[in-house]
């Protein structure tokens, strides 16, 4: 039996003014002891997110100005590719994603190119209501059909990807609102990436206030449908998995 070293996993954390939580989150991920490398993408923060993340032991990619979560992730994927990582996983810097679940989500890659840590799949008590819920279940239904597998949480940011997914993301990873979840997923599926879902528990966010009001939820519904429509009509990425 060969003793091959397991491929290194890069944990990408987009962070924008997350000074309160980023240090603890990084330490918690490193404390898993699985040999994860943590890359915090400081998305043009005005606080000391970058310094705190660095002190906690993360590699910091400091963007000169704010690019949004999608832009930050794309920079992270580029870093992963430059440094030859085979596996990446996106984790929120505000501590909503439980670092103990990282391993499970990454395990999901054994059968797929993209593995989503889903909040609604049996575990946890994360709940939404009203137009936001309709939007989410509608999106889940459409994207499940596309992906030919049951997906319940397509807007989850807790996602792992393999080399094929990284290459596809670098080719197409929109920075616009909702693009980083819905659009990127739909284009990835249409470009031939297989998707799997792993149930995870979602924790209460450690800082900040979630936006819950009917008007915002309705706008969310419209924008997500629009984002889906655009994603369905976009051109596919050409991603041979051996592309250097």
């Amino acid at each position: 039996m060969f003793m091959t070293e397991p491929p290194r996993v890069l944990v990408i954390m987009p962070a924008w003014n997350e000074g309160e939580t980023v240090g603890d989150t990084v330490r918690e991920v490193l404390a898993q002891g699985k040999g994860y490398d943590v890359l915090v993408v400081d998305d043009g923060s005005s606080d000391d997110t970058a310094r705190l993340a660095g002190e906690a032991g993360a590699t910091v990619l400091k963007l000169p100005f704010n690019l949004g979560v999608g832009g930050a992730m794309r920079a992270g994927f580029k870093y992963a590719k430059t440094h030859g990582y085979q596996t990446v996983i996106q984790v929120d810097s505000d501590g909503q994603h439980d670092p103990r679940d990282i391993e499970r989500v990454v395990q999901g890659l054994q059968h797929a190119d993209i593995s989503i840590g889903a909040r609604f799949a049996e575990e946890g008590d994360y709940k939404v209501t009203g137009p936001r819920k309709w939007a989410m279940s509608f999106l889940a239904a459409v994207i499940s059909r596309l992906a030919k597998t049951k997906l319940t949480d397509v807007t989850s940011g807790f996602r792992a990807g393999n080399v094929r997914a990284i290459n596809q993301y670098i080719d197409h990873y929109p920075a616009e609102y909702l693009g980083d979840t819905i659009d990127s997923l739909v284009v990835a599926i249409r470009s031939g990436c297989a998707v799997a879902q792993v149930p995870v528990t979602m924790r209460v966010r450690q800082g900040g206030v979630p936006s819950h009001n009917p008007a915002k939820s309705a706008v969310y519904l419209l924008r997500s449908v629009f984002a889906l429509f655009l994603a369905l009509t976009r051109r596919k990425s050409q991603v041979p998995s051996d592309k250097a």
């Binding site: 993408v41 660095g54 002190e55 990619l61 920079a75 580029k78 590719k81 030859g84």
Partner: protein, 139 residues
């Protein structure tokens, strides 16, 4: 008198575009459009009856309405074109930002290794993690 004013206005615009071009304040691809607009208004200012003639052909009752309609279409086109150019520029800026960030991090890691070759973990800038071998050195 109005004809004269229109003529002077068109001439000033035409010269202004040429001058901006000469000083490299305006790129050719945008200048062509404005030179065409300037040239067109010069012709119309010189031969105002031309507008009435064309309006007659097209079945537009009031010649000035033809002028307004053309201006609106042109301005919408220009605005759309500028939005498109801006999107391209934003995309290029984003790519530059990514590359700068990645290069900066790589530079800091190298500096950390140079300063403390035996124990890179002491540099205090989070560079203590061994960089995995690069699959390819290109982005």
């Amino acid at each position: 008198m109005a004809v004269f004013a229109a003529f002077v206005f068109s001439l000033v615009m035409f010269v202004l575009v040429l001058e901006m071009l000469r000083r490299k304040k305006l790129r050719e691809k945008y200048a062509v459009l404005w030179l065409l607009v300037g040239g067109g208004s010069l012709i119309l200012a010189g031969w105002p009856q031309l507008l009435a003639l064309v309006a007659g052909w097209l079945g537009v009752q009031v010649p000035s309405n033809l002028l307004f309609a053309m201006s609106i279409v042109l301005l919408i086109g220009v605005a759309l074109h500028l939005s498109w150019e801006l999107s391209v520029v934003e995309d290029e800026t984003r790519i530059l930002a990514e590359e700068v960030a990645i290069l900066n991090t790589a530079l800091k890691q190298l500096q950390g290794e140079v300063r403390s070759p035996k124990d890179p973990g002491q540099s205090g800038t989070g560079t203590g993690h061994p960089v995995p071998p690069a699959a390819g050195d290109r982005l």
